[in-house]
């Protein structure tokens, strides 16, 4: 479902003398349906950079980046938009939403964007929020005022609202208590069971051991770090 070949990335800092910083070269991995692959490597090795490239948020400098039948490395913006709507979900560490929109609608939005009826989308959103222990009295409020852990759970609910065939998870269990961590790990297991291909970053070693089928150390893709 996700296949990366010889992927390269560099940043050119035009306002700092045009410095070119190569951050990735020769990256390669594959994630099949129903599989969860964990990215490892020390902080700054390029785990998040790789995830952002798969999502089309960072431009690739070279190589192939297949998600389903689309090469994200060379795709038109409009094809990436369609991919994100239907096929590729992303739970980042940050919740970015229009202020003042109720939590229930924030979570339902990915389904509405796919044309789901409003009631069905809200029902699905409500069941996820309930599972993730967000009290019902908060559903009508904007999540922008919530605690870090609550925002993280709203973000997860939003990311799991639609059954994406491929999912990117950036530290989905960070800042969660034991009970909510368990809920998130179960959601990941359910997604795998329905055939989702998952690429994730998990600092939580026990979580990683439980849901990941394989690990890929990105240090090998980092120019200057690979020994």
């Amino acid at each position: 479902m996700i296949r990366i070949e010889n992927l390269a990335k560099s940043f050119t800092l035009h306002n700092q003398g045009g410095a070119v910083i190569p951050v990735m070269a020769g990256a390669a991995l594959a994630v099949g349906p129903g599989e969860c692959v964990g990215l490892t490597g020390q902080s700054g090795a390029g785990k998040s950079t790789l995830m952002r490239m798969v999502y089309g948020n960072y431009l690739a400098a070279g190589g192939r980046l297949m998600v389903g039948a689309l090469d994200v490395a060379t795709a038109e913006p409009r094809d990436i938009i369609a991919l994100r709507r239907r096929t590729l979900g992303y739970v980042s560490q940050f919740l970015r939403v229009v202020p003042r929109v109720p939590t229930l609608d924030v979570v339902a939005e990915p389904l509405l964007a796919l044309g789901s009826p409003v009631d069905a989308a809200r029902d699905r959103a409500a069941s996820l929020l309930k599972r993730l222990n967000i009290p019902e009295r908060l559903w009508s409020l904007s999540p922008t005022t919530f605690s870090g852990g609550e925002q993280q759970r709203v973000n997860i609910a939003r990311g799991f609202a639609h059954a994406y065939p491929a999912l990117l998870l950036d530290e989905p269990t960070a800042s969660l208590d034991a009970a909510n961590r368990e809920v998130v790990l179960t959601l990941i297991e359910e997604a795998k069971a329905r055939g989702a291909a998952i690429l994730g970053i998990f600092h939580d070693e026990a979580a990683r051991a439980r849901v990941c089928d394989r690990l890929v150390d990105v240090t090998g893709f980092t120019p200057g770090l690979a020994a």
Binding site: N15, R52, N57, Y58, L59, P77, R78, I81, R96
Partner: protein, 266 residues
């Protein structure tokens, strides 16, 4: 309502064909460049953001696209029709039925001496609606959609707050079911809390009505939340374009990098 269906209903459009194709659009003011060699495609349901500083040419480009100014060079094709080649009558008809233009200042887009309901109803009459009850019913419906209470229908826009005036302008523009909406700094003069509400409203309308939108703004936070794609302009030229979050998070051009790094963090 006695409307010509061709004028009024949402026409079926192949989602894989661009609704608007712009090729090499150029506008000069004497020796000075307004905008130069701008090309892009806009598909149904897509929101394109155009950002740049004052004087970057973004407003000139918008007014050329909307036909408020005549471009010197280039081609604009709307739904397969050559816009620059059509007669003034034809173009006016298009801008009344298929297009809408939301001004930064609601006063430029509203008739301040006419009631809120009249502002919305007038547009319906311009495309052929005659039945008073239908017009009023539709006006009430649209005021509701932009969150203006039905009991304000007979008030003039002068009695409205800035945010309400802007929402009324949007209702006036969308009531005739346009497919392409031009917006010039629509959240420009508003308080941030009012801005948020308007952004949410616009997102919902774009999604539910399948609108194509070209929005000009200098506010990067607004385009991040509203635009699918982004064009960055400087000195009349497009220096970079792409997926909105990609352009903002991984800008390639020196000017875009400067623009993005100049935003104050809150």
């Amino acid at each position: 309502m006695t409307l010509h269906s061709t004028e009024f209903s949402q026409k079926i459009h192949d989602p894989d064909q661009p609704l608007l194709k712009v090729d090499g659009l150029t506008k000069r003011y004497g020796p000075r460049i307004g905008c130069a060699d701008v090309s892009f495609d806009l598909y149904p349901g897509e929101v394109l953001g155009i950002v740049g500083e004052s004087g970057s040419g973004k407003s000139t480009l918008l007014s050329c696209l909307a036909g408020h100014q005549r471009a010197d060079l280039g081609r604009i094709s709307y739904d397969g029709r050559d816009v620059l080649g059509m007669s003034e009558t034809e173009r006016r008809r298009l801008s009344r039925t298929d297009w809408a233009y939301v001004h930064q200042n609601p006063r430029d887009g509203l008739r301040m001496g006419v009631s809120a309901g009249g502002n919305v109803g007038e547009r319906l009459m311009a495309v052929g609606a005659r039945h008073y009850g239908d017009i009023r019913g539709k006006a009430v419906d649209w005021l509701g959609r932009v969150e203006i209470a039905a009991d304000r229908i007979d008030d003039r826009p002068t009695a409205f707050s800035g945010g309400m005036q802007q929402r009324l302008q949007i209702a006036r523009n969308l009531v005739t079911g346009p497919r392409l909406v031009f917006m010039d700094e629509p959240t420009g003069g508003l308080d941030v809390s009012v801005q948020a509400r308007l952004l949410d409203l616009l997102r919902g309308l774009v999604r539910d009505l399948g609108l194509s939108v070209i929005i000009v703004t200098h506010d990067l936070a607004v385009v991040r939340l509203l635009a699918h794609r982004l064009m960055v302009m400087r000195s009349g030229r497009v220096v970079e374009q792409g997926l909105t979050d990609q352009v903002l998070d991984d800008p390639q051009h020196a000017y875009t990098q400067l623009l993005v790094s100049s935003v104050l963090q809150v």
